[in-house]
Symmetry: C2
Subunit: 410 residues, 2 copies
């Protein structure tokens, strides 16, 4: 038993980080279509220039800008049409001599000798292969230079990036079709409690439907973690110990979600203490909600244990603060974008504890954070909330007019 | 051919909405574990009260508050311990008489007769079954009332909600295990262009790797749409027409992504005009970027067609503005949360056109929106950007100090 190891949230996370180098995510290569939403495990450096040739951004005529320096509406310049670039074909043998022009479609190769492209709107073909140009052009106009989009050697995407659609586009552009991404942690979610019934059952007297194993499983999925199993076990030490032992074999993380009564907490701590060869690391965190949180680590199997508080809001917040933030930091992800919002009321904090306040956002010139109060055990206010903000341990609460940073629920 | 049907962005979306009632998403039931990220198709109304009984939020003793009205540190009140509530067992036959108390764990049933729970910290058992209570309690203290979390008949979650982890928790709590969600549109993505090569190939002279079919496929996936196929076809009218015809059979949406040259645009409009029995609805939108956009609708097969601009930034923005927003509006989703940010520089708009400006966000007291300029055809600035803001058709640009609403890339 490791009682009274109450830690701050940061200290609890620090202890996990210390022990967790053995579950540093491995790297796997996936195809481009499977890479969306995955976390990049290595920097992506381009081996190529994009575009690899000077590219026109318009349908127009490649010209030498000095040839049309005097061109205007009233007095056009005349050039000889000496060729045409076709998309998808090799035009690299085309060369533009003085006094000539060559038709180039959008995206097409701009021939050597040319230094600008004039839009078709300003060009009028004549008979006998001549073109009247009614506008001058500066050097480089309507041309994307070699490597202007991506230069060979550039770090295009950095390790830790969670890949979005346009990142997939960048990878496609430079020909990276095997994408090195982090192998997601394998998570086992165990809910314990004789009073818990499955959602499809009608709770009898003294019973309640299991909520936390569903929210924790779903939150793992939205973060891209791999839930290997979600199981319910009765409050039986031997039975739970057996599930913990079996799950160590194929899980990086084992999450236990039980009740918040003292008996349940002691039981969870005891079970984690026995299953984890490093024992219990943290027994209670100085957080509101979230106090009855237990962590542990097993070196032999490289498994991290978290015993979550029983209350749904507390369970989700603690899972977010310990496990999800640990995953993000170990994979090198940037902090998420938060929303600055104003509170229009005084909101107390819990002195000496990190306080997490649920809020909804209301639109305004500056968004307003409206507190949502979830009494212990309630789930509907958690669902109503858009997210939460944090008050530091030494903070005495926020006052009407204060600005807070709202973390949106994911 | 339906040339010159240039519409505003809103008009183009309006025309699609008019024609699209026949692709109103159908409803399917999925299990709780499969419901995460799906869009709720019907309001969820609770049939039950949660909690179904008065529930204690603490480990403590159920009491009659009037019995301990005078209790304090110095002069405790004494009560007779008349029972204990066990989690998961039927305690509904317990009744609290005056002068008695009953132990109740966190989450446990509060017996009839009691109107408050005193935390164990303020209670000290004596010999002979007596308890000393050193703190008074107000009526209702530490008790969650029947239906206080969820009242029977409440609309818990409204149609159009994209389900998050805590929403899954609410559904579990009220016993909804078959969740009515919108069947995602089935999307075919076709990229056309003789100049396009697959990402794993090295582009020859005049060739370029296909980007848009990857970004559009990925963006469809992040929105929860179902991509039934992503195919590349050469610039051959008959070949493309055959793919369009075959895809109509199993797609709600067919997205064509080709080049931005005039020849390509005409070809796309022509093909959509022939494949769609309502013909081309919009031929060009007054947007920057995004002008060369074509839409159409086929009533017989109930298929929506979108021909996207060739430039990667334009393709993604148009896909977002037309297709994704249409999906969100038809499924009843609320507008996404945007981020208010200040621009610290003057940014011009394109007069008469809806202008979409890519930006990155920089942290500050008020977040700063830093413009990212993507010259036509570039992809790396699109990936660099955190999102974009809109300037209306009649807007003359934004000035240093203006506040804009940034839509984050999804």
């Amino acid at each position: 038993m490791d009682l009274l190891r109450v830690d701050t949230v940061d200290a609890a996370r620090g202890k996990l980080e210390e022990h967790c180098s053995s579950i540093m995510p491995r790297i796997e290569n996936v195809s481009l279509h499977d890479a969306i939403g995955r976390v990049l495990a290595q920097n992506i450096i381009s081996k190529e220039n994009i575009p690899p040739y000077r590219r026109s951004i318009m349908d127009g005529y490649a010209v030498r800008s000095r040839d049309i320096g005097a061109a205007g509406d009233m007095v056009p310049s005349f050039l000889k049409i000496s060729g045409e670039v076709l998309l998808g074909t090799d035009s690299s043998d085309l060369f533009l001599e003085a006094g000539q022009c060559i038709y180039v479609p959008t995206g097409g190769y701009v021939p050597e000798g040319a230094d600008a492209v004039v839009m078709v709107e300003y060009c009028e073909p004549f008979g006998s292969g001549m073109l009247a140009v009614s506008k001058s052009a500066s050097a480089g106009e309507n041309i994307v230079q070699i490597g202007e989009d991506v230069a060979a050697g550039d770090v295009l995407l950095a390790r830790g990036r969670r890949l979005r659609p346009q990142d997939i586009g960048v990878l496609a552009a430079v020909g990276v079709t095997e994408v090195p991404v982090c192998v997601p942690w394998r998570v086992t979610v165990i809910s314990t409690g004789d009073e818990l019934v499955r959602p499809e059952e009608t709770p009898g007297p003294g019973q309640i439907r299991d909520i936390n194993s569903f929210t924790v499983t779903a939150r793992s999925m939205t973060e891209g973690l791999k839930v290997v199993r979600t199981v319910s076990v009765r409050d039986d030490d031997a039975e739970i110990a057996a599930v913990l032992k079996a799950s160590k074999a194929d899980s990086d993380v084992i999450v236990m979600s039980g009740g918040s009564s003292q008996g349940k907490k002691d039981m969870t701590a005891d079970l984690i203490g026995k299953a984890a060869d490093c024992g219990v690391l943290t027994h209670g965190i100085a957080a509101k909600p979230g106090k009855p949180t237990i962590t542990g680590f097993d070196n032999e199997s490289a498994t991290l244990f978290i015993g979550l508080p029983g209350h749904p809001a507390a369970a989700l917040i603690v899972y977010e603060q310990l496990l999800i933030r640990l995953w993000r930091s170990m994979t090198g992800q940037s902090p998420e974008i938060t929303i600055k919002a104003m509170v229009k009321t005084n909101i107390p904090s819990a002195p000496g504890r990190r306080t997490f306040q649920l809020v909804t956002l209301r639109d305004g010139e500056m968004p307003e954070a409206v507190p949502v109060f979830a009494r212990s055990g309630m789930i509907s206010p958690v669902s109503l909330a858009d997210g939460f903000f944090e008050m530091e341990e030494n903070c005495e609460g926020v006052k009407n007019g204060d600005i807070v940073e709202v973390h949106l629920w994911k």
